[in-house]
Amino acid sequence: MPLQVEERRDVIGADGRLVEELVVNVGPSHPSTHGVGRVIVHLDGEVVTKVEPVIGYLHRGIEKMAENRTYLQVVPLTDRLDYVGSMYANWAYCRTLERLADIAVPERAEYIRVIVCELQRIASHMMGLGASAADTGAFTMFVYCFDLRERIIEFFETLCGSRLTYNYVRPGGVSFDLPEGWLEDVSAFLETVDAKLVEMDQLFFGNVIARGRMKGIGVLSAEDAVAWGITGPSARASGVNWDLRKHDPYSVYPLFDFDVVVGDNGDSYDRGRTKIFECHESAKIIRQAIAKIPGGKFKTPLPRLIAPPAGDAYDHIESARGTLGVYLVSDGSVRPYRMHVRSPAFCNLAILPRLVPGHTLSDLIVVLGSLDPVFGEVDR
């Protein structure tokens, strides 16, 4: 892919006639690409004929770096993958390591992990929704979403000292126990969350202009979703009823009662709305977890240098974007031999060239926002 794109060229269009095609570059520095993503768009007038995402602008070689660090040192690296959802990125890696090295996790730690991960899911969806609302021009929705996200980030700051990359979920448990009164504060916060989410739903998704912008745009069929490996709210909005927390449960999720949010049409509107309803479900889970959380240890004591037996392991969790999996290969030493991250944002973004052609440039922005890519995870 040459860095310069031709601005205007004559091509034979799909129906055989000669069209003057305009090639436009969206990104990598662009307010709407949710990070550093570049999309090369071929336009026939206002209609998009071809879309080509170019990624790799945030590729840092995390998988290679992991080979040069001890297992515990890799945890902060995973923070930087999906930086909008560090908690579950940490958790996916820790689960795989625990499976590989056969490390037990105390029950209290599992409950804490669930609470923290569901809070992170709400925060991540708020980011995704806010950003896609801002793309369509509804700046107020953006601010409301970030208000909610700010409260959650403040909780995380009280918990582990950090606002964005937490390094909190560690192999064997979590790094700190919950501070006194933290659970009460979270409970108080949760009482306001449902009303705020409903308000946001009405403000943005109830708006006739937003509906016109998002309904019927970027329709993804359920068969395509499964064939292309799309997971998470983007797939569930298309009617694919699959949520790892319910259908391949892990940790203490089987003890909680919640619904899987499944949409009908698979358009951008449904993808957005699925996120709002998933936040309601997350709030439900957190309430139940707070009610049931036991006392006890928050971490299994582990040496700083862990040397799992040679072999490999794969484990996955349901992150806000989809199935986040980590594959670890050990050669018996204190450093991983290979780490691979199955990144949901990377796999979900692959469907973009199929969803956009036929729509306009404005719709490209809407579809990209609804797929909610985080380029730290896409590029690793």
């Binding site: 790799g56 391949d248 996955h316 290979r338 199955r342 990377f346």
Partner: protein
């Protein structure tokens, strides 16, 4: 019961059961030969493994090991198919025709390991710039810009 069905469907392939896991999904390990890979995967696709979750590779020294993790919702089973690819001639069949999800994942493996996937519609680098030389995730990748880890860590 499903394992037997799988064994029967795959024929001579070595299908062994890994540890049974807490959870609803059974896990199966399958080793395939390089030439039979596409056939094995095709059979698995027909049997009901409708989703390709992960496609990656590991540099094992003399060979590359390419892994496919596929899932069947209907059978509630996840299979990891492994194939060894010789280092001197790293070519393997592309599964894009079976699971389009392989599109970008195969490009990523090509980008970082140099393994060519025969039959992929658009095999070119995805994460690294187009004009990058070398394949970074190989164990023998040399680049003077890589920072050496000090011995005391």
């Amino acid at each position: 019961m499903t394992i037997e069905r799988l064994r029967a469907a795959l024929g001579e392939e070595n299908a062994t059961i890994a540890a049974m896991l807490p959870g609803d999904t059974e896990r199966v390990e399958i080793h395939a030969g390089l030439d039979e890979l596409l056939e094995v995967l095709g059979t698995l696709r027909r049997v009901g493994f409708e989703r390709l979750e992960m496609l990656t590779a590991v540099d094992r020294g003399e060979t590359f090991e390419v892994l496919y993790r596929i899932e069947s919702r209907s059978l509630s089973i996840a299979a990891t198919v492994r194939v060894d690819v010789p280092r001197e001639e790293p070519r393997v069949a592309s599964v894009f025709g079976l699971w389009p999800a392989a599109d970008w994942q195969e490009r990523e493996v090509y980008d970082l390991f140099g393994i060519r996937f025969a039959g992929h519609p658009d095999l070119r680098r995805i994460l690294l710039p187009e004009d990058w030389m070398g394949f970074p995730l190989r164990k023998d990748y040399v680049d003077e810009r890589i920072v050496r880890r000090p011995d005391y860590i």
